[in-house]
């Protein structure tokens, strides 16, 4: 397998990155199966909620309200969290967040750190950074363990090892845990993971988590998970560092009522996630005695300033959009070259990078709208995709080398042609004549040169009929057409 590139600054454009995945039939089978199972469960559980529409409206409005008052709620969170014994740090970008976390761990003289699944830490590429600074990070989420031991990368934000099947997990565990007799029985696999994890939980006194929600009212943090391994990280270590994007805040404790309902149903197709951990600052002689929150901006403020794209930050990372996406279903997550794949990744990743990288992602969609349909906070992803396409196109048009790019030439010509009906009619005739050489006796085109080959590589194209509709209409008006 080709190792996936997850740094958007280095990743190849989506169409190229998708090629190795499209050839990997096992991976595609795993992804299609897993997403089909989750979407079916989600659909069932959403259908049983008679007030789903109202819940979704509330969740959407609540998230938008937060974004419109983000400064206020963040300051409130900082104040309450500090009062409860936590230490709040502000990180403008990934580098600053990494330095803050390294500083805290150095103070602890940590050589190892255990982690609850956090995609934000992958966004700032924390693990490799800690490793080069002599600190070994151990993932404790089952999926993340599979990826860490298998030297693989996450392909999904809720189910990071979605592209790996059970027998592949067995192979990784058998090899890395030195258990040659291990079977692919799920109970045996989880037992192996448990033994591996217990040694870490009991020995490593520092932990890193992400956050599903930061509660402004109480200064508390909420993390939801399925396995209980996160709960272990939240109780056993001496020091806990929570890394959270600034958009993760919600106003009140009570708002969890709405958010947890829509999140669990959308993410895993469950009425409630198995473990919901809530903690506020430090509790004497119970749980971590040093608690830090690192609030990460890393491009988010800039998205917030753009009124039309602000909705991107409503996201609660449920991944319903990627599960529903027919593009993701074919390619899985690695092709997106970012820790945030799928439709939300296609709008979030380039914006986090100020539209300087990942410009191919907004085009990695057929605009089918399945993502918007399932989004529990009503992010109109297709609309954002189109907006971002316009921004990418505006950028690219400034580049001289794009001037002769066949797509750009074609779009410019089409614009001139569509500007007048006379020109359009002339173009229809020219196209008919031009394509004649490629049209077979049955009226179909089997192969086109240049850019057209991108169509005919898998599809024939019907040749242009002798009479356009408009010519037929004119002829009919003159009483000359066939009925």
């Amino acid at each position: 397998m080709i190792h996936p590139v997850m740094d958007p600054k280095l990743a190849p454009p989506f169409p190229q990155a998708a090629l190795p995945v499209l050839r990997n039939t096992q991976l595609r089978k795993n992804v299609a199966h897993a997403t089909d199972v989750i979407t079916a469960k989600r659909a069932r559980l959403v259908a049983e909620k008679s007030d789903w529409r109202a819940l979704r409206d509330s969740a959407s409005e609540l998230r938008m309200h937060v974004l419109e008052n983000l400064g206020t709620y963040l300051e409130q969170f900082e104040e309450r969290c500090t009062a409860a014994g936590g230490v709040v740090h502000w990180a403008a970008d990934a580098a600053e967040a990494r330095q803050i976390i390294l500083g805290i761990l150095r103070e602890e003289r940590a050589k190892e750190v255990i982690k609850i699944k956090t995609m934000t830490s992958a966004e700032i590429q924390l693990n490799p950074f800690l490793a080069t600074n002599g600190i070994q990070a151990h993932e404790t989420d089952l999926a993340e363990i599979i990826l860490q031991l298998g030297n693989d990368e996450p392909s999904h934000i809720v189910v990071p090892a979605l592209h790996v099947n059970r027998s592949q997990v067995r192979e990784i565990f058998a090899r890395r845990m030195d258990l040659p007799e291990l079977s692919d029985n799920p109970q045996e696999l989880t037992a192996a993971a448990r033994t591996y994890l217990r040694s870490k939980f009991l020995a490593v006194p520092s932990a890193i988590s992400g956050a599903n929600f930061l509660i402004a009212e109480t200064g508390g943090v909420a993390v939801v998970e399925s396995e209980g391994n996160g709960r272990m990280c939240l109780t056993l270590p001496r020091t806990m560092i929570t890394l959270a994007g600034i958009e993760k805040v919600i106003p009140r404790y009570q708002d969890l009522e709405i958010m947890l309902q829509v999140l669990a149903r959308s993410a895993t197709g469950e009425r409630m996630n198995p473990y919901t951990s809530l903690w506020t600052g430090v509790t004497k002689e119970d749980g971590p005695q040093n608690f830090h929150v690192v609030l990460l901006d890393n491009g988010r403020s800039e998205i917030l300033r753009n009124e039309r794209e602000r909705q991107t930050l409503k996201c609660i990372r449920c991944a319903a959009c990627m599960n529903a996406c027919p593009v993701y279903r074919q390619t899985g997550g690695h092709a997106y070259g970012s820790v945030y794949p799928g439709p939300i990744g296609a709008i979030l990743t380039p914006q986090l990078l100020k539209m300087e990288f990942a410009q191919s992602l907004p085009f990695a969609s057929s605009l089918c709208g399945a993502c918007y349909e399932v989004c529990p906070v009503k992010i109109n992803i297709p609309e954002s995709l189109i907006d971002l396409r316009a921004r990418v196109t505006d950028q690219e048009r400034q580049e001289e080398r794009r001037f002769f790019d066949p797509l750009y030439v074609g779009m410019r010509m089409a614009s001139k042609v569509f500007a007048s009906a006379g020109r359009f009619r002339a173009a229809q005739r020219m196209a008919r004549i031009g394509l004649k050489a490629f049209t077979g006796r049955d009226g179909w085109i089997r192969g086109l040169p240049g850019y057209g080959a991108r169509w005919t590589m898998t599809r024939d194209l019907r040749g242009i009929p002798e009479q356009s509709f408009r010519d037929w209409w004119t002829a009919r008006d003159n009483g000359k057409a066939k009925p």
């Binding site: 605009l367 007048s420 898998t458 356009s468 004119t474």
Partner: protein
């Protein structure tokens, strides 16, 4: 009732038989059909590929051309979705108040074909005869943007001789997506293969839809693979009678 047919650029050029069929159905139902020859394209291709300025020019052209039309009928779901969902955003960003109010006045009179037949003419039975096994592809814009719902099925159910074959995963995209089909040709083709499996499993003779763009993609693949199925726009099924059976390319 007078209806102005906006045929759309690709139907005009590649699928004139669809336009002829729309004229036949509407005239059979007593509608006075007109065709304004100044029309070209709604701008969807430019808008969805990021060429906002060009799309805006075409959107403006559309609004001016049909400002006085009694009704505009369009046999292409995605072009109607372009007008309904994207024109407002384009006009908000690049237009002026005069254009916006002209558009607001026009929009309620812009119809997709099945909407016009059912919501305006209330003609569930259009008197069609098409003795074939047919499966219906919902198309994403028809399904999610226009929310056509059961309209296409109500129309097809009244076609004499037609046997409707249900399609699995009706809400799954076929992978066309306009310029996506060439910009991301490999992924688009992989999506098409998945869709074709469901379509071919219906063992229908024809796959129909209210949008020729998806059908161009699916039909092109069927032809490439010598499949025992062809695509046909629903207008052609609805126009088909015993005396004048559908033209099938």
């Amino acid at each position: 009732m007078r209806a102005s047919l906006f045929i759309t650029c690709y139907n005009d050029t590649l699928f004139p038989e669809t336009g002829r069929a729309v004229v036949a159905v509407l005239e059979r139902l007593g509608v006075d059909v007109e065709f304004r020859p100044a029309q070209t394209c709604c701008g969807q291709m430019h808008a969805n590929t990021g060429f906002q300025g060009e799309a805006f020019s075409l959107a403006k052209k559309f609004v001016k051309l049909y400002a006085d039309a009694e009704a505009v009928v369009i046999p292409s779901s995605s072009c109607v979705a372009m007008i309904r969902d994207q024109y407002p955003l384009l006009f908000e960003e690049l237009g002026n108040e005069e254009l916006r109010s002209q558009f607001r006045a026009l929009l309620p009179r812009v119809y997709e074909l099945s909407e016009f037949l059912l919501d305006v003419l209330d003609a569930e039975d259009v008197g069609a005869y098409f003795p074939h096994r047919v499966t219906y592809h919902a198309t994403c814009h028809g399904l999610r943007a226009l929310e056509l719902g059961d309209r296409p099925f109500r129309l097809l159910n009244k076609v004499k001789g037609l046997e409707l074959a249900p399609l699995d995963h009706l809400d799954r995209c076929c992978g066309f997506g306009g310029t996506f089909s060439v910009k991301n040709a490999e992924v688009s083709s992989a999506m098409m293969t998945a869709k074709l499996q469901d379509v071919m499993a219906t063992r229908a003779e024809f796959c129909t839809a209210l949008d020729n763009s998806c059908l161009m993609h699916l039909g092109g693949a069927m032809h490439r693979e010598f499949a025992a199925m062809r695509t046909i726009h629903m207008a052609q099924i609805l126009a088909s009678t015993r005396e004048h059976p559908a033209e099938v390319a």
